[in-house]
């Protein structure tokens, strides 16, 4: 097994061009689990955590966007000022694993794994983030909705590196909720990200762990945009409940040893309506 530790993006891309199927290792919190369990036996490893271009985030005030390098860790996303710009991402980051995992695991790795339970993904989905990929052949950017193809399947091609994501800075409330059977360090049984935008007066809702990949709830979003009052920050209790029902109806959960589909759907309904109430606290 060869291990390459490139120090720059161009070196990383060159290394990847030589071995397009090499295991890209960021924090290793997913990849090493796979290796240790024998599910993955890489012959080449490219460890990218020394690639400084991937390890920072930048705010563009004109475009009102934040670009997050794929190597930025959850611990870094929980710190201000990025936590103020993207509060839902900070909340989602806080739900990830333990302090050790948050200091090592990256948003790029979450995208790379593309588990339906990945906690960063509902936020990127709710914000309609753009995923940036690079290879020696060139760069491309695609919407996260195109990037996430299925259960642990993405549109990334061999030889491509995820360099980062761009997320808009919205003007309204946003937040993330995740249900697990433990109060910390637990895989989501169901999760929701709700983001609101005062300027465009819309409400976005993304669901995790209840489908092959992250789901957006178009119907629930349209319903919410129609019934909430952005001026008075209010929504009626019955409309919040209805919003939850629509979210639950949009979920496509499965039964497994962690939870029943019935519980996951139920939880989505509860989380979605509670998040809407947090966004619009007045009745």
């Amino acid at each position: 097994m060869s291990v390459i530790v490139p120090k720059s993006l161009s070196d990383a891309l060159a290394a990847l061009a030589d071995n397009p199927d090499a295991l890209v290792l960021a924090g290793g919190t997913d990849a090493m689990v796979e290796v240790n369990s024998g599910h993955r036996k890489p012959s080449h490893v490219i460890a990218i955590n020394r690639v400084s271009e991937l390890r920072s985030w930048t705010f563009d005030p004109v475009a009102a966007t934040v670009h997050i390098g794929s190597g930025v860790t959850y611990a870094e996303l929980m710190e201000s000022p990025v936590a103020q710009l993207l509060p839902a991402l900070a909340e989602a980051s806080r739900t990830v694993g333990s302090p050790q995992i948050r200091h090592t695991g990256t948003l790029g790795g979450n995208l790379g794994t593309c588990s339906p339970a990945g906690d960063g993904l509902p936020v990127v989905s709710a914000l309609d983030g753009m995923v940036h990929l690079a290879s020696v052949a060139g760069d491309r950017s695609l919407s996260v909705h195109e990037f996430m193809v299925g259960v642990k399947r993405t549109a990334r091609q061999p030889g491509e590196l995820i360099t980062g994501v761009t997320l808009p800075v919205l003007s309204g409330w946003q937040g993330y909720s995740k249900v697990g059977v433990r109060n910390a360090m637990v895989i989501a049984l169901a999760s929701t990200c709700l983001a609101t935008d005062l300027d465009s007066r819309n409400v976005r809702l993304a669901l995790g762990s209840v489908g092959p990949t992250i789901l957006r709830c178009v119907e629930a979003e349209a319903f919410a945009a129609a019934v909430v009052s952005f001026e008075s920050q209010s929504v009626s209790a019955s409309d919040a409940r209805r919003f939850g029902e629509l979210a639950a109806a949009a979920s496509r959960p499965i039964n497994d040893h962690r939870a029943t589909a019935e519980y996951r759907r139920h939880a989505i309904g509860v989380l979605a309506s509670r998040l809407l109430r947090r966004a619009f606290p007045n009745e």
């Binding site: 806080r94 249900v179 433990r182 109060n183 910390a184 360090m185 029943t260 519980y263 509860v270």
Partner: protein, 765 residues
């Protein structure tokens, strides 16, 4: 690497809260666990395990494994020179399955190779052909005889009835219910690991292993190897927790066999998944109970039926069953009882010892019943427990009289008097982390309801039913240095610390060296059943007293004083009158003594067919009160506070006692709300820490504890065992608090979110 034995520790006497020598190294990562052992030229061993819960082995072809470079040995049942089976109580478990496999994970073969990866490939190259059979997974079918015997010893491991007083008496108030306890894992953090070194002549072996009982391992290993005891020497490797899971043989025989076969050192380490399959678990149990009481809430009769699922092999199931049935009444006076209990064999994972040993299961049921009774009689749950609390001199349903200190009412009163949390739901600072759902931020304070629950337990200490679980200790005094030797497994409970404290108090010297923990001294019995402070503490105490008396005799001669007038006062030896005083160091100069003592507890009896007999050695008591916040819509909980008062006899090291209380509560909380090995049709669904959830710091409540110190006249130092009680009634207290919060019955642990909401726990088919 640091190890705890051999170190000189010179502070702390009985009653001092000194911290443990292994504490800092464990936190800093420098402690040598048995998985850190290595030797020159050492091979790695690994085990091939059954993928089926029940199957006939048609053939095993190991030739493929031998063709892999680096593979030094492949062994199967045919290579076991001695007894083909082992077991703690009955020898019913094969070293390697030969004809049939009886559970998922049963060992079939083992390999030794130059690298773990070579081992992995060698295991994959072994071809086993199975004829898969329908597994027996329903314990009731083991009882009703509707499934063929899955083992020559039959499907019922033991049945025990208890009939006491008037079996037909009926109370004014009658409550009954069914209870279910899921399979809990001990989930120690230091995985199974051992290293075996063959003797130069190939006739014997030295084993370094993390275990709870060196001498019992030695006995079973020697029998399987077919060699005399003296050819098998064991040394304790650094142990990262045990909780019962290291009482049975796991990798010991395999490691020794591979070392003897290859003539080279061999080490085996289990992975977490293998550990889930490779050791015994807490028995899942179904219990029916019916309680009769007078209308004012006095217990009249307890009826119970208990079915313990022992899994494929007997392990300690028969003793666990006895603990279950004999503790059915709880810490309450009751003159009449009809209890029927079974421990049965199935093709589920084998079950055996785990902290609480059968009493955890009984307590969950009897405490659920006490709450039902309180409701039926219109009495407060605390009041009804006080009303029925047993005292010293009361007779148990086995006919045994409680001779120990029994401060049950005090445990209850002091627990109830401890302050309730003064903060509202979410805390004064409205921290969302403090709500159910924790880091997931699922709830706001308005969604949460709070409940309070109470539970009380009785726990037997030491072994039962005529077992003489004695302990041995050797004390040497030479030039003012005390060296203690014993075979007591230090599994993290802190015995090494306590032993030093005892020696310093008895002898007056500061410096105590703890010798290597190995089989070069007599047995200490198992580190289980809350027994080592009492038993090995008793042995260390007695050995030190013997040495002290020899020292007194020498001082008496050299200083012309009456030896009977001498006493130890701090670091000095004094005459009672106070005129004579000499430092212990000075008195001992040039002298050396060496004494070995066995400590035995009083004998116990077997139970007769009606469950009558003085079967237990001693008892301890505890009460717990839980405050739990519940999100009824999502079914999530956060335990806010546990208050407890525990009957400890005498706290030899209060800090250590508190450690046991907090750790035991964490394990009790785990069983209450999250820890369960989920099995379907004999297959384990969650053999990893991703899916077998243990409480994290965010799940742990504040613990406030009151130690009830009434020295027990039967305990050598007045100190009762404190390890198990904290884990026993904490579980039912938490569940009672959840019931109180949501106003619904909950008769199963762990309580699942679906149980709280009222959804089905499993998909409808």
């Amino acid at each position: 690497m640091s190890s705890v034995t051999g170190e000189r520790i010179s502070v702390g006497r009985i009653g001092d809260s000194i911290s443990r020598p292994d504490g800092t190294p464990k936190v800093q990562g420098s402690y040598a666990f048995s998985s850190d052992l290595s030797a020159e030229n050492c091979l790695w061993g690994a085990t091939l395990r059954s993928p089926h819960p029940s199957a006939r082995i048609v053939s095993i072809d190991i030739s493929g494994a031998y063709r892999i470079a680096g593979v030094e040995a492949v062994i199967t049942a045919a290579d076991v020179p001695g007894s083909p089976t082992y077991g703690l109580i009955s020898s019913d478990q094969p070293v390697f399955a030969a004809d049939v496999v009886r559970y998922v994970g049963e060992p079939i073969a083992a390999v030794a190779a130059d690298h773990p990866e070579t081992c992995r490939r060698a295991l994959a190259a072994i071809v086993v052909v199975y004829e898969v059979l329908e597994p027996l997974v329903d314990p009731e079918r083991a009882i009703d005889g509707s499934h063929p015997d899955i083992h020559p010893d039959g499907n019922v491991i033991r049945r025990q009835r208890i009939v006491c007083g008037d079996p037909d008496i009926v109370g004014d108030v009658v409550v009954e219910d069914d209870y279910e306890i899921g399979m809990q894992d001990q989930a120690f953090l230091g995985l199974e690991a051992a290293m075996a070194l063959p003797d130069d002549d190939g006739g014997g072996v030295s084993l370094y292993v993390a275990t709870q009982w060196l001498h019992e391992d030695q006995k079973q290993i020697a029998a399987c190897l077919g060699v005399p005891l003296s050819k098998v020497r064991l040394t304790l490797g650094g142990v990262g927790g045990a909780f019962g899971a290291r009482e049975d043989i796991s990798l010991q025989v395999h490691t020794c066999l591979l070392a003897l076969r290859t003539g080279r050192p061999v080490r085996i380490h289990y992975s977490r998944e293998e550990s889930f399959l490779g050791h015994v678990h807490r028995h899942p149990v179904r219990i029916w109970m019916r309680h009769h009481a007078t209308s004012d809430g006095r217990l009249v009769k307890v009826e119970a039926r208990m079915v313990f699922d022992g899994g494929a092999y007997a392990s300690t199931s028969s003793a666990v069953l006895i603990n279950g049935v004999t503790h059915a009444q709880g810490p309450y006076r009751c003159d009449n009882a009809v209890v029927d209990g079974y421990a049965v064999r199935t093709n589920n994972l084998p079950c055996g010892a785990m902290r609480g040993f059968g009493v955890v299961q009984a307590c969950f049921a009897h405490e659920g019943q006490m709450d039902k009774l309180a409701a039926a009689c219109g009495i407060d749950p605390v009041e009804i427990r006080l009303l029925n609390a047993m005292v010293t001199g009361d007779k148990l349903i086995t006919g045994q009289i409680i001779e120990n200190v029994a401060p049950v009412a005090r445990c209850i009163r002091e627990t109830a008097a401890l302050p309730l949390p003064d903060e509202p739901v979410g805390g004064h600072d409205h921290d969302p982390m403090r709500l159910p759902g924790g880091a997931g931020r699922t709830a706001d304070s308005s969604h949460i309801v709070r409940g309070i629950g109470f539970a009380v337990a009785i726990k037997n200490l030491m072994y039962s039913e005529t077992f003489d679980d004695y302990s041995t200790a050797r004390c040497r005094l030479s030039d003012g240095v005390v060296t203690l030797k014993f075979a007591t497994s230090e599994v993290g409970q802190g015995f090494i610390t306590i032993a030093g404290q005892i020696a310093r108090s008895v002898l007056g010297f500061d410096t105590v060296v703890i010798d290597s923990i190995d089989t070069d001294v007599g047995s200490a019995g198992s580190t289980s059943a809350s027994r080592q402070t009492w038993m090995s503490g008793g042995a260390v105490n007695a050995a030190c007293i013997k040495v002290r008396d020899l020292l007194f005799a020498a001082v008496a001669v050299s200083h012309d004083v009456d030896p009977l007038s001498l006493a130890v006062d701090g670091g000095d030896i004094i005459a009672a009158a106070g005129v004579f005083r000499i430092s212990a160091l000075e008195a001992a100069s040039g002298l050396s003594f060496d004494e070995t003592v066995e400590y035995h507890h009083k004998p116990t009896e077997d139970l007769d067919e009606n469950g009558q007999g003085n079967c237990h050695t001693a008892f301890a008591f505890v009460a717990h009160r839980a405050v739990v916040d519940v999100d009824p819509e999502l079914g999530l909980v956060k335990v806010i506070q546990i208050a407890t008062a525990q009957d400890v006899g005498r706290a030899l090291n209060p800090l250590s006692v508190l450690g046991q209380i907090e750790g035991g509560i964490a394990q009790g909380l785990g069983l209450a709300v999250m820890e369960e090995i989920i099995m379907t049709n004999g297959h384990v669904r969650n053999p990893s820490f991703t899916d077998y959830l243990l409480p994290t710091f965010l799940d742990m409540p504040t613990v406030i504890a009151s130690l009830i110190e009434e020295p027990d006249p039967f305990a050598p130092l007045g100190a009762k065992g404190v390890g198990e009680p904290p884990t026993i009634s904490s579980t039912p207290a938490i569940v009672a608090a959840i019931r109180d919060a949501i106003g619904k019955p909950l008769n199963r642990v762990p309580v699942r979110p679906t149980d709280i909401i009222g959804l089905r726990a499993f998909p409808s088919i």
